[in-house]
Symmetry: C2
């Protein structure tokens, strides 16, 4: 395995050089088995791990025992201020010579604020690298056993977030792109803003009968799925537990899930927790 | 690790029941360390592994020695006919009681034809599950140390393929969505169709100065990156080796790569090796 033996490992020589480094690591959607081998290796070479609310406990079990663990969740804080604090903390720890692992739910490169943390490290002259992770969308699709891009239904796959910089629905989303019947759309953090999303997308021409599946805690033992249409899903979200982000998969590639759920009231697809 | 112990493992009891099963497994972008733990577990319980051209050799090293390995690449074949043959082969092997692992480059759920293989298995009554993988786009972004969705530059991330069912540029792509300055776009299999993509996207209003980075063999030792603009990239692709698919990352989130590449002719970003 030359690919593994030859791998750059910033934590490896930290005692010799006492030079800090930062690794942004994707923790995947929840199931600890969806960590990559590279992510496990990073966890096992970390001095300190700064992790999000979205990282499941089983993922942290892969870290070496000596590593410090620090929850830097954003619940209840203004996201912009808190992110600046996290950036400063990462830089400060690395300047002390630590190998800092910044562990994020999903993939740091997809709505994970990696861009800002990379910039902060670079501005401080700290070596930084990224270990990608399975995104929540990929985890949900695998768990539902569907393709995000079934070639009969989707020529384009798009990910959007229900939260802009200010926490509301982004006002500059391309609504024509959302209305495209040949796209699969995944909406992250969709709970609060899905009614607004629906209103804009339907006004742009989206068919209200387009299949839409909400998934909470994808790939975890307590995963919940709710299949509906975009016309009816927003009201149904009120029945779901409030302590987890809601991911919505939207598009004709997910039509089979709706067919499975509707006639038989399948528990797994219509569960309300 | 209850998540691991409690995991459904279709190959585990194959000797007791002699009931076949199929697992579609994402092999990730190339670096074997970007396999998930779950993918390794599937490889180690497979009786037979059907793998693509895009799967790197190091990934197959994780399979148990007794597993048969069968390359089912599509090079030089009409893709539609060949896919039907692969579907039939998967079903036939599973009906013989084998645990069949269908190993695909990247994530089977993103332009991986998983939808058709899942349908073929279900039609034959064969249990099927999906293990997601790191997509080429995620691998490339991590390797370039950029976010696909830097919040200053991208509210939307979209994946499209340069090859439709017939192998040409899809004619029903939403060109307005491609021209959106607030999107990051990843074009898979972009080599042959990028000039046509550019013509349509510019006609729809895309700024020709939009940063565009071509990546070949992302995360592999022979990775090649070429940073340009969408206005100039298509002609530059001719300088790249012809034996690898070309991935193109397009959008203002990738502007820093262009700045790095242009003044200094950085070898890693302008290599034509």
């Amino acid at each position: 395995m030359s690919g593994i033996d030859g791998m750059e490992e910033p934590g490896g020589d930290r005692r010799a050089e006492k030079r800090g480094a930062v690794t942004l690591v994707g923790a995947g959607p929840g199931d600890p088995e969806l960590l990559t081998l590279k992510a496990v290796k990073a966890l096992q070479s970390a001095d300190i791990i700064l992790y999000d609310d979205l990282v499941s406990a089983g993922v942290l079990d892969f870290a070496r025992q000596e590593a410090k663990r620090l929850l830097v969740g954003k619940k209840g804080y203004g996201p912009q201020v808190k992110q600046a604090e996290i950036n400063a903390l990462i830089v400060s720890l690395a300047l002390q010579g630590k190998h800092v692992v910044r562990l994020k739910g999903g993939d740091p490169g997809i709505f994970g604020r990696a861009g800002e943390e990379i910039e902060a490290c670079r501005a401080a002259g700290i070596p930084v690298r990224v270990v990608p992770g399975i995104s929540a969308a990929q985890g949900a699709a695998a768990s539902l056993c569907v393709s995000l891009t079934h070639r009969d239904h989707a020529r384009r796959l798009q990910f959007v977030t229900g939260h802009s910089r200010e926490g509301a629905l982004p006002d500059d989303l391309d609504w024509g792109a959302m209305a495209d019947p040949a796209a699969s759309t995944v909406i992250y953090m969709a709970r609060a803003t899905l009614p607004g999303f629906r209103a804009h997308a339907l006004a742009a021409g989206l068919d209200p009968a387009t299949p839409a599946v909400a998934v909470l805690a994808a790939t975890r033992p307590d995963e919940i799925r709710l299949a509906a249409t975009i016309g009816t899903l927003p009201e149904k979200l009120a029945d779901l537990p409030a302590d987890r982000p809601v991911l919505v998969l939207l598009g004709h590639a997910f039509g089979a899930l709706l067919e499975q759920a509707e006639p038989a009231a399948d528990r797994r697809l219509s569960g309300t927790g």
